[in-house]
């Protein structure tokens, strides 16, 4: 995705490790950010709509891949397709749906023209209204591929809405990991916020996801969630970030109100003025200031 020109700024929230609090923080940003479009790019575990009081306005099918289908009436069981398939997706003239990557080599080598490629509906794209602004989200069917393409579609749709309706920000709730959906969530963004926590796992993943930000030249910022869990690791994160020249914009303490709010389907900011809400407010102010300057 190309860098967005003009006034729309894209901010992507990622973490490497899952469950550090990305979605809870993005949900809280929703109640703080004026003029923002939200994009849930964790398309195979899309949870942001659950705390944004979302009402689906439009739903459309996402078709980006094909799977092979063998017409048994035409098949002479020559085995050419099986030989040439690099994914071991054809055995005894049957296509394994999950192993087939849709490369269509089988359909091209079949001497009988018995193999056709069929479009697969891999998921759905949604545009929802929320009290906080428009939300673009998706559902990737469990087991499907092409999550990166669906992420790109979610971002493009959010970008269109932002341009057409004059929004200042697109806030992207990214997926865990460092693979294709993360790269698709990150490329061309104005800045990224990495949500980490003071655990040995989260720190390890922070390092990995930071190198992805650097690789794709997206300016990173860091915030530490559950910062009161283990002080020594907070010190480690602080030292690491100093060394890497990355600014830590917030420290959010463990706060049972986050889960209480979640159970009510609300972000913690706006639900109650607790310790976490106060720190998330400060984080948002600092972040918005930095992103405006990018």
């Amino acid at each position: 995705m190309k860098k967005i020109r003009g006034d729309v700024k894209t901010l992507t929230i990622i973490s490497g490790k899952g469950g550090t609090g990305k979605t809870s923080i993005v949900g809280s940003f929703a109640s703080l950010a004026k003029k923002a479009v939200f994009a849930d790019c964790d398309v195979d575990a899309a949870d942001l709509s659950l705390i944004m009081d979302a009402r689906i306005k439009t739903a459309s099918e996402f078709k980006a891949s094909q799977k092979a289908r063998i017409d048994v009436a035409k098949c002479i069981q020559c085995g050419d397709c099986e030989d040439k398939c690099r994914f071991n997706a054809i055995q005894n003239c049957k296509v394994d749906y999950f192993l087939c990557e849709g490369c269509r080599v089988c359909s091209l080598v079949c001497p009988q023209g018995a193999i056709s490629m069929e479009d697969v509906c891999s998921g759905q794209l949604f545009i929802s209204d929320t009290p906080y602004g428009p939300l673009v989200h998706a559902r990737l069917e469990p087991g499907e591929e092409n999550s990166g393409k669906l992420v790109t579609l979610v971002r493009q749709t959010a970008e269109q809405i932002a341009r057409n309706e004059g929004f200042e920000y697109i806030i992207v709730d990214g997926p865990p990991g460092i693979g294709c959906p993360v790269i698709a969530s990150l490329t061309g963004a104005t800045a990224s916020l990495i949500v980490t926590e003071p655990t040995i796992s989260a720190i390890s993943d922070l390092k990995r996801v930071l190198s992805v930000c650097n690789h794709f030249k997206v300016p990173p910022f860091v915030c530490v969630n559950r910062c009161d869990l283990y002080q020594e690791n907070v010190t480690r994160i602080t030292e690491f970030c100093q060394q890497e020249g990355v600014e830590i914009l917030g420290m959010i303490p463990y706060d049972p109100n986050v889960v209480r709010a979640l159970v009510q389907g609300k972000p913690v900011v706006g639900y109650t003025e607790s310790a976490a809400s106060q720190q998330i407010r400060k984080l948002w102010d600092r972040l918005a200031e930095r992103v405006t300057l990018q």
Partner: protein, 280 residues
Amino acid sequence: MIIAVASGKGGTGKTTVAVNLALALQLENNVKFFDCDVEAPNAYLFLKPNITHSEPVVTACPTVDGTRCTFCGKCAEVCAFHALVVLKERVLLYPELCHDCGGCELFCPQNAIGKKERKIGIIESGLAGNIAFFQGRLTPGEPFSPPLIRALKRIVSNDSIVILDAPPGTSCPVVTTIEGSDFCLLVTEPTPFGLHDLALAVELVQKLEIRAGVVVNRADIGDDKVDAYCAKKGLPVLMRLPYDQELAIKYAQGMSAVGVLPEYQQKFSQLYQEINVLAR
């Protein structure tokens, strides 16, 4: 017996469950542990293996022999992934889009296409106590983890207890990991997020026809809807782990429950007994 530990939602405690299960079983069994979360591998932080072997994992991508190519465009036509674009006097290659299906090589009328290897990550192995430990590490910036996970899984043999620590989500990296397992443990937490993503993971294991059971982590936070869902679906809840601040602090430092509190040894051995019954 191959046991995959998956979750849908990230950060529910997959690695915690997988590591503790391995630690609890290693005294009396042959255990092999595979960290298949190659984008964010963390089990090594807890099992602390002595890594003695490391090898690169490569995928292939096409090369074009300029002296043979006539720029006919056949390769670009057959490539379903747009990894080649043929211009008037040039072929542009996008190796990171290539799935190594072999189509371009197979159909080039000039035999002008060869392949070269591209490193996408490494596989490391070693011993962690009695546990044979294996992990994949995807190189940051590389988009596709399934080839690396497939390379890891080629080492899996069913002659011992095999534990696969899966990545979060429900898309291709998870499918690649859990496919072919005898049992899938789904780790969740009792919150709306945990429930939503558990339901997706359950859809996936049903599609793949893998037997599954649930572990509820931080079982005392949130609400009781995960239990209601499991009851409705007939999914066995095999274990509940309460939130324990002291254990969370130990976890933050890379210590695991079985190593810290002896009753967890018993709990996780019991979990395996139940899996053993259900998987048959």
